[in-house]
Amino acid sequence: MPGHSTWFTFLLAGMRDNLSRNAQLIGDSIINGHPPTWMSFEPIVAALFVAAVVLVLAIVARRRLIRLDDMVIPDDRLTLRTFMEIFLGYFYDLAKSMMGAERAKRYFPVIGASAIFVFFSNVMALLPGMPVATSNLNITLGCALVVFVLFNFYGLKVNGWNYIKHLAGPAWYLAWLVLPIELISLCVRPITLSVRLMLNMSVDHLILGIFVSLLALVIPVPLMVLGCLIVLIQTLVFTLLTTIYISLATEHEHH
């Protein structure tokens, strides 16, 4: 997917020599075979910027939440605290309906973190000239691998050996058939998570670029609406799939 210069390129250009030397030291990339250039560090800088923004917003919202004497009463208008309540509360209700209240509370950090990071990263795609962190396979593969390692870790921690025995299917004489299929479908999960998010974001950016190059005045408006929808839907899909994987891995067998 083609990349272009953004506002962050000016930030990177100040460190251009060091970045070029480091990019050459990394070597060739797996997919293309081309070595990275000094502009290839841009999605990483964008992801760090999103992480910093989310951290600052979270600290501000939490400070406002603690300082209130009666935090039960919400504010009148849409402040930062009520926005976080609506956004994270929706995913928390989703997790509670799937996993039960106690498990949802224990596993919510990774669910909420993926929701907020993916949402703020995607929203930057709607601002003109800002880089989109999640339209790069490196960033989304990082998110998906974190989710993969975590849900396997939770499954092994809660169920132990039963987690792997459950993958072998209902009967012992079918295990030679079922276990490879289940293992393959388990290992394909981070790949589809990351590639789906990357493709949706970069195709949306690409189509918006094409239509803006046609006529930059009125025609992009329905595409910006589509872009807003895609941002929200992809956040929902990523977080929902994370929740489903965690709830499948940690559910108890003895019913």
Binding site: V195, R196, L199, N200, L236, V237
Partner: protein
Amino acid sequence: MIKNKLALVVAPFVALLSSTAFAQEAAGGGGANKFDAQAMAALGAGLAIGLAVLGGGTGQGRAAAAALEGISRNPGAAGRIQTPMILGLALIESLVLFAFAIAFLLQRNIGG
């Protein structure tokens, strides 16, 4: 009598079409080069995205139709039906986007 007239009208078309088949055999013996590969890549890219959108559109239409029928039967459950519908639509769309990625990678090799 009518059957003979039909054969009389169709026969020139058959003769013209068969001559094009002879022409293809003569021109195809030039040896494969990279322009042939680029032509095949272009054809493959177009077919990939077309067939993918065909399947994806059909699948998404059926998913949305089932969701709309569910909402019409039970309007109170509209919120609970909407979330799985959006999830299903996004998962079907991701398959279409996989095919778009392949078409894009094929299309990058054209125009050497």
